[in-house]
């Protein structure tokens, strides 16, 4: 009876190669690494992905991590703009949005807050999301922050 390993080895006959010589499939892990790291560079440049994440080995290279970003969420009703608290149950999703504040992620998160009760009357018109990143002064380290993504999601929009 052949073991599963032996069967898999036999099935992998297309990979047969003489010993001592590198074959094309040996480079697959490196190719995968380069594709993921290249995609991470693209997302940092185009979608404000934090360089810490996304598989590009940017950890420990910048203070721009999710912990130094923050989110403000507002419920917009006729004549009222009220900031919403972030419930503990949504912390994980908020962290994901802080890491990658793409429109799709922000939109998904906005709908999570659509049912949040507020004392205001009137129908919910929109949810406004603001993602800010903290910067530190090069000399004094005094923190300040700048907006990196703002999005207003009208309720009822697809």
């Amino acid at each position: 009876m052949k073991t599963a390993g032996e069967i898999l080895r036999q099935e992998a006959c297309f990979m047969a190669e003489p010993p001592g010589r590198a074959r094309w499939f040996w480079y697959l892990p490196s190719v995968l690494l380069l594709i993921v790291a290249g995609n991470q560079l693209r997302l940092v440049a185009t979608a404000s992905l934090s360089p810490w994440w996304g598989g590009g080995f940017g950890m420990f290279s910048t203070t721009d991590a999710w912990a130094t970003r923050h989110l403000h969420i507002f419920a917009l009703r006729p004549g009222v703009r009220r900031e919403l608290d972030i419930p503990p149950a949504l912390r994980k999703k908020v962290e994901q949005v802080l890491v990658l504040p793409s429109d799709a992620q922000l939109r998904t998160l906005a709908y999570e807050f659509a049912d949040t009760p507020t004392p205001d009357a009137g129908p919910l018109e929109a949810i406004e999301l603001q993602v800010w990143a903290t910067h530190f002064d090069p000399e004094t380290l005094t923190p300040s922050s700048t907006p990196i993504r703002f999005l207003t999601v009208r309720m009822g929009e697809p």
Binding site: A4, A12, R23, L28, A37, T63, P138, S144
Partner: protein, 286 residues
């Protein structure tokens, strides 16, 4: 023990010592790794490594974009092991992948540090050393900060600010010794990581490639004494062992010693002990 078996065993040990994955992936990871360690003759069992690769890939995908570098590297490494096991020359295939993966990982780590607007000027380490609670002992011991100064600096740095601060903040001055520490760590890290990238991607055993093991061991000894990400360090050691020239027994022993040293760094709070002791020595007895 030959290099391939040793590298595979160290990889499994790394998974056991630093459990990874969410509530349902973690027990499977641990079970498979324990199986591999408990049954030494099955260490090269291909389905085991394919299963680990699939789990590692799932971990990255389910957690995207929050998976850390370690998760990605483990995924590539398990794929490399699987490919090595179906190849006719597992030691050569694994050595090639160990060298390339280390080289590319350090190349991108260096690239990000050079591209970053707040790394080369020392800000990253100044902020991180002050705000990361896990580094408090090290900062006090080496940076010369007292707990009071550290706390007041941390308060300023972690306050919530939208736009510019409304109130004028008086940031306590950072001691000169601390600034030297931050700038020293900045340049040490970027130069060492850059050198490792070049050494591992260079032609094998030519030029700087000859010192690649020394560079990687130096990186692990110095970095993981301070940085609490031991899982990544252990994975680098496993990959380092795989690509190490079989004739260099002492270098392999060096890798093994550093694997143990990283475990020591994690389990023994030696920095905190030294830090507390230095505070006791410098504080007046009243």
């Amino acid at each position: 023990m030959n290099a391939v078996n040793l590298a595979l065993r160290l990889t499994l040990l790394e998974i056991l010592l630093r459990p990874i994955g969410n509530w349902f992936l973690q027990p499977i990871f641990l079970g498979i790794a324990a199986l591999g360690v408990a049954l030494p003759r099955q260490i090269r069992w291909l389905p085991l490594w394919i299963a680990l690769f699939v789990l590692a890939a799932l971990r990255v995908l389910l957690n995207w974009p929050m998976a850390d570098n370690h998760a990605y590297l483990l995924c590539y490494w398990c794929l490399a092991v699987s490919l090595a096991l179906v190849s006719r020359d597992p030691p050569l295939c694994l050595a090639l992948n160990g060298r390339l993966l280390i080289g590319w990982a350090f190349a991108f780590a260096t690239l990000w540090k050079v591209l970053s607007p707040d790394y080369l000027d020392g800000r990253f380490f100044r902020v991180t050393l002050l705000t990361d609670q896990r580094l408090a002992g090290f900062v006090q011991l080496v940076g010369g900060l007292t707990p009071d100064v550290l706390e007041s600096l941390r308060e300023v740095l972690t306050q919530h600010v939208d736009g510019q601060a409304f109130t004028v903040l008086t940031t306590p001055a950072e001691p000169t010794r601390f600034l030297w520490l931050a700038h020293g760590m900045t340049w040490w890290t970027v130069i060492l990581e850059g050198a490792i990238a070049v050494a591992f991607l260079w032609f094998v055993n030519q030029g700087i490639s000859k010192v690649r093991d020394v560079l990687l061991i130096t990186f692990c000894v110095t970095t993981y004494a301070v940085t609490p990400v031991e899982g990544f360090g252990w994975l680098l050691i496993a990959m380092g062992v795989a690509q190490c020239d079989p004739a260099r027994r002492k270098t392999r022993l060096g890798y093994l010693a550093v694997f143990g040293l990283i475990l020591f760094y994690r389990e023994v709070p030696w920095v905190e002990w030294l830090s507390t002791r230095s505070l006791e020595v410098t504080s007046p007895p009243w």
